[in-house]
Symmetry: C3
Subunit: 185 residues, 3 copies
């Protein structure tokens, strides 16, 4: 093989390296991004059950809570000073994970009580226990600041959670751009 042929091979390898690099940069990471907009007990629980399932298979999981979903992260023990509108919203929306309604069969409040009883009977964890597990698995929770503004929620009234951040929609875009899967519920 002559020098020109060797140079040609080298050039082809370099071209391939550049293409592989682009593929690697754009390849989705082993991450799951969940946008939780629903504030219904059944959907929030489903989000955590899937999140924990994915984390058990070593996926990185990011959960972005927005709109009604943010109410699931309020701590009923914490109270904050608010203006009239904030107080009204605060009173109308659930004050914690324990107070979320069901999307179906709410039955004037009986539905969630029944579902929780049945879950307990079948050894399914409560939302509060799922949250504790999520913290242990290193699942990251992001709270949408625009939603907090709209609903008059303050950082001081959210639960203590090791990996919780207050972010804008740009962070969510960044999270799902890198994720293998993202869904919004």
């Amino acid at each position: 093989m002559g020098v020109t042929e060797a140079q040609d091979l080298r050039a082809q390898i370099e071209a391939l390296q550049a293409r592989v690099e682009i593929l690697e940069e754009n390849a989705p990471e082993d991450r799951l991004a969940l946008g939780v907009m629903s504030g219904d007990l059944d959907y929030v629980m489903a989000a955590f059950i899937v999140a924990l399932g994915a984390a058990a298979y070593d996926m990185e999981v990011d959960m972005f809570f927005t709109f009604w979903g943010t109410a699931a992260l309020r701590d009923p023990q914490k109270s904050v000073q608010k203006d009239a509108l904030g107080k009204m919203f605060g009173a109308m929306l659930p004050n914690s994970a324990g107070k979320l309604p069901l999307s179906k069969m709410q039955l004037l409040g009986l539905g969630p009580v029944m579902i929780k009883e049945i879950m307990k009977k079948h050894g399914v964890k409560s939302l509060e226990e799922l949250l504790a597990d999520a913290a242990e698995f290193g699942i990251k929770i992001y709270v949408c600041t625009m939603s907090m503004d709209l609903m008059g929620f303050k950082k001081e009234e959210f639960i203590d959670y090791p990996n919780l951040e207050y972010v804008g929609v740009g962070t969510f875009v960044d999270l799902f751009s890198r994720a293998k899967q993202c869904w919004f519920m």
Copy 2:
């Protein structure tokens, strides 16, 4: 070209092969995974219409039915022995695809009747026909066993479908990890 240069080229090619192999292993397959949690006629129909559309374009389609969605797969002709709670749930939830409510304009039961009439008029298939098509296209249906436990549903009361499996959330995680797209509705 000397021996060292040839060895160098070979080493570079091998390094590239290893990187391409990793990319290939992690590349999403041509699969669509649908998590059907809603038990509303409109959402379940949308799931099947998209599933059949994807199958027509040669995508593999996996449908995971959970929570309220499982009720869409019950066969009204089959009855099973249940305890009191199971009986109650069985009676409160739709007993088949034909009994699903609408997410909007339910109108005390008139909405679904109207929608079905209009769909027929426009040559849109009914949910029962979509299910038959899905079976023919080889679309796989997975029923969430945790949801079955919660709602007291037994395997014996589900429809006959050639590709139906009863699975846990881990299977769903595996399905969507390999899929090109997954959504949850």
Copy 3:
């Protein structure tokens, strides 16, 4: 290095090129596909806020409006001749983005009024303004023709939007097959 070794290297490079080509062909594009089935103000707004966020990060965004979602794109100033069923549906469904209900706290119509007041106060854009921004960012809107048929909607009653197309479910499948992420809400 002899001639056979050079030929061998060349063959290996060619094999790699073929594999990289397949990876490149199947690599998802930097696109976001959103299926908007919900006709609720909060979900449609969320779709546009995410769409604009993604567009700001230079992603291409395709929005497919189907079922109840199509009502958000009606122009209240435009009226068309319809048969009895079409008139009834036309009257029952919102006639524009400005008339969408909320998924929660509808409060007999008070909810949307309140939310809009609060959004204005916090400098959050209205749905009409988000639509104008979407047009400017080149976000493409697709309207599901099957849904139009079902609801008796005519092309003539939809808003003027620079990038609006009337398409079937096959187009949606094509859009999400190429997208990095797709979700359905």
